[in-house]
Amino acid sequence: MPFNKESFSELIKVHSKEIYNFCLYLTGNPNDAHDLSQDVFINAYRSIEKFRQDCAFSTWLHTIALNLYRDRMRRRKTVKFTPMDDEKEFSDKQIPVEKQLEDSELKKKILKSLDLLSQEQKVPIVLKYLEGKSLEETAKLCNCSIGTVSSRISRGIKILRGHLK
């Protein structure tokens, strides 16, 4: 697929779900995920000419998403928003209602627990276990060695487990 402005809507269709969900794991709520992921695509659109194709397009989008996310967190360091009512936000039509409810509850719990982790621990866990990236990819996106990623994941998971219990 060519990476230019003309074929961008095709690229969006392919990657939007993935990026939206990645943003959802990062931000922890659908509204922020919506805004963040749309900004990711707009930024990508603006600088699509700069995409050197030395990595997957998806990885490039992930990088943009991570940069934007870190940027936002830095800007609103002191204020953290927790939405009051996000009951209906996690609907999924294909799954039967009971299972859907159960999954939705679990997912909500996981997202909330993830949000309690530090950025350094949250990002590799999301990339590795929710996005299914390899350790090497995760390390590249996090700009650190796989050893560092490993220890951050391990400590993060330990904390996460404490919250999920």
């Binding site: 707009i42 679990l106 050893g147 490993s150 998971i157 330990k158």
Partner: protein, 286 residues
């Protein structure tokens, strides 16, 4: 290997990223440390749980919104107004500052001025002051007189050499008790007198009334309580002259007599007769 190191390596171990040597050490520790074995299984359990999370579907209108935003990106940006370097509004503070500066300047202008002119003049040498008198207009002359008084006052050894009118511990304005005023008197020379005794009074009265016969009786004045002040203008060649005591002031050691002399206006017709205007008044001593 301690337990913390062990835990840090768990993700690497599970992904088979450890070197054979590291793996060996890891396995050894795992077998000897139940806590770490527990940690490993807990880790596996949690990550498995995370893997069950299914991705959300995109929210409604997500793609449409995105399309619109991207379409907006392609629109030519409205040409931004060039930043003007000069705007009239920028002048307001400048005007304000200028205005303040002017006010401040006006204030400073008065700042260096002496509070009174005499103070400045005191610093001038007397000769210079005297020179000024000749050349200066009448107003300056008046100032000079003030200056001279001030100067002399400053130089005076005893303060009693000086008369400070209108002030002092015993300052009084006298009230007139009796008075005589006319233009015909036996005293033909210009003089002013203060009479404190009956004898002096008798003498003055006789001199004053010597042209009248019979001589009017000496007016009764109680010199224990009162005194007489008399001013004579001297003999004048026509009518229209007059003299009037306008103010009597007594300070601690002096009596001040202020009188006004009137003369006929130039070119006016006046009675052609000799006149000797006078004004005699009786005032209280205290």
């Amino acid at each position: 290997m301690n337990c913390q190191n062990f835990e840090d390596l768990i993700p690497l171990y599970l992904e088979n990223k450890l070197s054979p040597k590291e793996k060996e050490v890891f396995d050894t520790h795992l077998q000897g440390c139940p806590a770490c074995a527990q940690a490993l299984s807990a880790f596996k359990e949690t990550t498995e749980l995370l893997k069950t999370v299914k991705p959300d579907e995109l929210p409604q209108d997500y793609l449409q919104n995105l399309e619109i935003k991207i379409a907006l990106e392609d629109l030519p940006l409205p040409e931004l107004q060039k930043p003007k370097f000069f705007r009239p509004q920028q002048l307001f503070p400048a005007f304000g500052a200028l205005f303040l500066l002017l006010i401040f300047g006006y204030y400073l202008r008065n700042f260096n001025k002496p509070i009174t002119v005499p103070l400045e003049k005191i610093q001038n040498p007397p000769e210079q002051v005297a020179q000024q008198v000749k050349t200066n207009p009448p107003v300056a002359l008046e100032q000079f007189i003030e200056t001279k008084k001030t100067l002399e006052f400053a130089k005076a050894t005893a303060k009693t050499d000086f008369i400070l009118r209108g002030a002092g511990p015993k300052y009084l304005k006298k009230r007139i008790i009796k008075q005589w005023q006319d233009t015909s008197s036996g005293i033909k020379s210009k003089k002013s007198v203060v009479i404190r005794t009956q004898a002096e009074w008798q003498e003055l009265w006789e001199a004053h009334t010597k042209n009248i016969s019979p001589m009017p009786p000496l007016p009764d004045v109680d010199f224990t309580k009162c005194l007489v002040v008399a001013v004579f203008m001297g003999e004048q060649k026509s009518g229209g002259y007059g003299i009037q005591i306008t103010d009597i002031q007594e300070s601690e050691d002096n009596i001040f007599i202020e009188f006004t002399e009137t003369v006929p206006a130039k070119g006016s017709v006046a009675a052609q007769q000799l006149t000797q205007p006078y004004h005699i008044i009786v005032v209280n001593r205290e």
